[in-house]
């Protein structure tokens, strides 16, 4: 009975990971891809995507759910890259330059996002999502109309032929994989972009260290219970804004790392799905709206991208249509997000019920007076003895 129950609990708590693992394992074989290829892909994609996913951690600690507003940071990163390309700054300096430009922009964006989300407490996720759309409109306005007309752009190669507005695809030749190639570790058939991994490692260390700071502790407190934190004198709104700002800045760096690996940028679309992929990854890794760890990030990136790599091929081989695999992986991505949100909402209701179980029912009928009171009394006495 209890074993069954604990298994059931284990399953509901890890349902997303388990279902995902199952689908992926089933799809590996029909894809016909070699293990070497898959492993190399995973190594590349871990470097490419992990930073973005890590950017989601802090808002989760602060109880703000999945930061769909991270797209704002991605846009800031892209603006940084546009300027780096504009001035033809190449290589690692180019990437660093883009990050330096992106930082103040993303700090501002993060502040805007934090203020807006503070006005929509309890609805952070949907609000963040719509905010990303809204800022996307402004981003398009700036990049498509202001750049080249009001904001000086000196490289005609990145402008549309009408004389203003940035082209819809930018070539990142100058910075392409320069971070990855800075320290490329080769071993057998595999190559490992060590520099990128080091950057990700530093970020992980930062997150671990950050959790030990006073600010990190405050963030946890705010995430657990805003009212109590407020009563204890912790500036709740400010702490939440800081969490979002850090997340946004990290997202802008993450997007730069992502794009330097890709080698080109779809100026008006590259950020559309940033939050989707990052959120899907962290959820697949076993995180929930309220709880996430660094291992969740890496497990998630590997699992999600494993499926992304194999599913189009599997679709091609099984159904004779690559599009099926393509749609399938998107279906899975959205489905995973929906499923884990549903499971989370459902589970927290269950938890609330379980927490109140003790108050229900008169345990032992007639002797009720003492019956209910006894249980906690025993616990209290036991505790006293220790």
């Amino acid at each position: 009975m209890s074993a069954k129950r604990s298994f059931g609990r284990f399953f509901t708590e890890n349902a997303v990971v388990i279902i995902f693992l199952l689908i992926t394992v089933l799809a590996v074989k029909p894809s016909g891809l070699s293990l070497t290829y898959i492993i190399q892909e995973m190594l590349t994609r871990l470097g490419r995507n992990s930073f973005l996913v890590l950017a989601l951690l802090l808002p989760i600690y602060a109880g703000m759910g999945l930061n769909f507003g991270m797209t704002l940071g991605a846009m800031a990163g892209q603006i940084g890259l546009i300027f780096a390309i504009n001035w033809n700054i190449m290589g690692v300096p180019g990437i660093a330059f883009a990050a330096l430009i992106g930082t103040p922009i993303s700090i501002f964006m993060g502040w805007v996002c934090g203020v807006v989300l503070n006005k929509a407490k309890g609805r952070e996720m949907v609000t963040g999502y719509i905010l990303a759309y809204f800022i996307n409109g402004i981003y398009q306005f700036v990049v498509l109309y202001l750049m080249g007309s009001i904001i000086p752009i000196r490289s005609p190669a990145i402008l549309l032929s009408r004389g203003y507005g940035i082209r819809n695809t930018l070539n990142l030749d100058g910075v392409r994989q320069s971070l990855d190639n800075l320290l490329m570790l080769k071993g057998g058939p595999f190559s490992l972009p060590l520099a990128t991994y080091l950057v990700i490692g530093v970020l992980c260390l930062f997150v671990i260290w950050f959790k030990k700071t006073k600010l990190g502790q405050d963030m946890r407190a705010v995430g657990h219970n805003m009212a109590v934190a407020d009563m204890a004198g912790i500036p709740v709104d400010r702490t939440r804004i800081i969490a979002i700002i850090i997340s946004t800045v990290l997202a802008s760096y993450g997007q730069i790392i992502f794009l330097q690996n890709m080698g080109n940028v779809a100026t008006y679309n590259a950020h559309d799905q940033t939050s989707f992929f990052a959120v899907a990854a962290i959820l697949v890794g076993g995180a929930s709206v309220k709880k996430a760890t660094i291992p969740n990030v890496f497990i998630g990136v590997v699992l999600l991208h494993l499926l992304f790599v194999v599913s189009p091929r599997a679709g091609q081989n099984l159904f004779d249509s690559a599009m099926i695999g393509e749609f399938f992986r998107q279906f899975i991505g959205y489905g995973v997000i929906a499923l884990s949100l549903v499971l989370y909402a459902w589970r927290s209701r269950k938890e609330a019920l379980r927490a109140r179980e003790g108050l229900r029912g008169l345990a032992v009928g007639a002797t009720g007076v003492a019956g209910v009171a006894k249980a906690p009394a025993g616990g209290g006495a036991g505790g006293k003895a220790t």
Partner: protein
């Protein structure tokens, strides 16, 4: 013990809310290391007094207070609770303000953590300091041992028994170096008796270390056993300030409740012919947060007005809410011969029971809709009234005309002051909103009506009207009424019998003309002793 030196003193403190005087000229002192028991009924002014002490914004926002509060002989006027904390006054509240996912240590030191400055401080500010966990543990341990109880500093609060949560709260307050005065508001409310004993011992220990305490509790025997001195408030006035030695629980109870039996009781000497048993409740439990019903049994006779009283949080409100299916409940409830299915509001309504909720704005009204809707809705949904059948009854449309007629009828009958029946409920005053709730309940013509706190927060005139309407409904239509109220006087003035609820159970049922101290004793949790006394007699 080095008692006697005056630490805190209230000096002629008065307070009114919009002309409604809630504290009259209250003066008393608290000495170093003294434990002062502060007792009084709901609404006696305890909470307001503490709010004044802590400088709650609510007080300043409603015109401040008169009189002075002095610490060490110097007047203080705190602008916010944080100022009070800085001055060394700690508060332990009824609800736990702990974070369940944090450990004991983390909760005790919440926002007062030990820190080691890091390099980043100069860049991003003080909050970049890292936590000094070993030191935090040491400080928490110190607070715990000062309290003299066994608490695991590394245990998560969510995994603690209730008693330990309470200790954690207290440890948090005494962790502040400066804390000299501790206010404990019903600290034993959630504790079992053995836990409460441990707590009381711990408090005495703290007092020996020089910490003064204001101990607020309705459990009078605890007050007697822990306090050095007792201050009794009644209707905002200090009625007694006496050392505890030689004072009995019964004395306190009568000071608390004691007032003359209201004069309008005399005319109630009418002959009451009550019918057979109509509602019988056996072993009812209700899971209503803050008003848990543990185990209740009672019965109500046809045509009776049955009163249920007791202090807030003891479970009296849970009774109607549970029977009407609004909160999870269990046990056996019969209406006449029929079993009432619990957890099913519709069935309860269809069986002819009505309910006027204590939560007027939350449950009682559709604030954004018209009075017509508010009054007719339940009757429409339950009895298919005020509907126009169309296409042979396939479609039933709202009959706005008859809804209006109904509303106008009740507006006249209950003297509801409104501009029109179309006015939105939220635009009415509290008293008129309450009348709308009554009208809603009357509109379904219930055989048994539960009324919960019908006069809470409404002015005197409206109070009288509401009570008269209830009495009239009882006398003229024979409606059986179960009335739940915190106002004992009100219950005694209208009810045929009054039950007093304590800790989720019925402490006793008394006729309305019983001695006030009897009611007081039941409220003070003296049920067991009393019951045994009765059994013995």
């Amino acid at each position: 013990m080095e008692q006697g030196t005056r630490l805190l003193s209230f000096d002629h403190v008065s307070k009114d809310f919009y002309g409604n005087k809630v504290l009259h000229d209250v003066s008393f002192d608290l000495g170093r290391g003294e434990i002062l028991g502060l007792v009084g009924e709901n609404g006696a002014g305890k909470t307001t007094l503490m709010r004044i002490l802590f400088g709650m914004p609510l007080i300043a926002g409603t015109g401040g207070y008169e009189g002075r509060i002095c610490i060490d002989g110097e007047e203080v006027r705190f602008k916010s609770p944080f100022d009070a904390l800085d001055a060394g006054i700690g508060m332990v509240q009824q609800e736990f303000s702990l974070i369940p996912g944090f450990t004991t240590t983390e909760n005790i030191l919440l926002n007062r953590e030990s820190m080691r400055p890091s390099l980043m401080n100069d860049v991003f500010g003080d909050r970049m300091s890292t936590l000094d966990r070993p030191d935090m543990r040491r400080r928490a341990q110190a607070a715990i041992s000062k309290l003299g109880v066994a608490l695991d500093p590394d245990m998560l609060v969510s995994e603690m028994p209730v008693g330990h949560k309470q200790f954690t709260e207290i440890a948090r307050e005494i962790n502040r170096e400066k804390t000299r005065i501790l206010v404990l508001d019903e600290p034993t409310a959630v504790l079992t008796e053995s836990e409460a004993d441990v707590l009381i011992k711990a408090l005495r220990g703290l007092a020996r270390q020089g910490i003064a305490m204001i101990f607020i509790s309705h459990r009078l025997h605890e007050v007697v056993s822990v306090a050095d001195r007792i201050v009794v408030l009644r209707d905002g006035m200090l009625v007694k300030d006496t050392p505890v030695a030689g004072v009995s629980v019964r004395d306190i109870a009568s000071w608390m409740v004691g007032r003359e039996v209201s004069s309008d009781r005399a005319e109630k000497a009418e002959e009451r012919r009550l019918g057979a048993e109509m509602l019988s409740v056996e072993h009812l439990w209700v899971d209503m947060p803050g008003e848990t019903v543990r185990d209740m049994s009672f019965s109500v006779r046809q045509g009776e007005i049955f009163g249920i009283g007791g202090l807030a949080g003891q479970g009296k409100l849970g009774i109607p809410n549970g029977i009407m299916g609004l909160f999870p409940a269990g046990g056996t409830v019969r209406l006449g011969e029929k079993l009432v299915p619990l957890d099913n509001p519709r069935a309860a309504l269809q069986m002819g029971m009505g309910f006027v909720s204590e939560d007027r704005r939350g449950v009682g009204l559709l604030l954004d809709e018209s009075l017509e809707w508010n009054i007719a809705f339940t009757a429409m949904q339950i009895h298919e009234k005020y509907l126009l059948p169309l296409l042979g009854g396939l479609i039933k449309l709202r009959d706005e005309k008859s809804m209006r007629k109904l509303t106008e009828e009740y507006v006249g009958m209950l003297d509801i002051k409104c501009q029109s029946p179309r006015q939105k409920a939220k635009e009415l005053s509290g008293g008129n909103q309450q009348k709308v709730c009554l009208a809603k309940a009357f509109a379904i013509k219930p055989g048994l009506l539960f009324v919960s706190e019908p006069t809470r927060g409404i002015d005197v005139g409206a109070k009288r009207l509401v009570l008269d309407a209830l009495r009239r409904s009882n006398r003229e239509y024979g409606t059986t009424i179960v009335m739940v109220s915190s106002e004992l006087e009100e219950l005694r003035s209208i009810c045929d019998r009054v039950a007093i609820v304590d800790e989720g159970r019925i402490a006793g049922i008394l006729p309305p003309h019983a001695e006030p101290s009897e009611f007081g004793l039941f409220m003070a949790g003296e049920r067991l002793a009393h019951a045994e006394e009765a059994r013995g007699a």
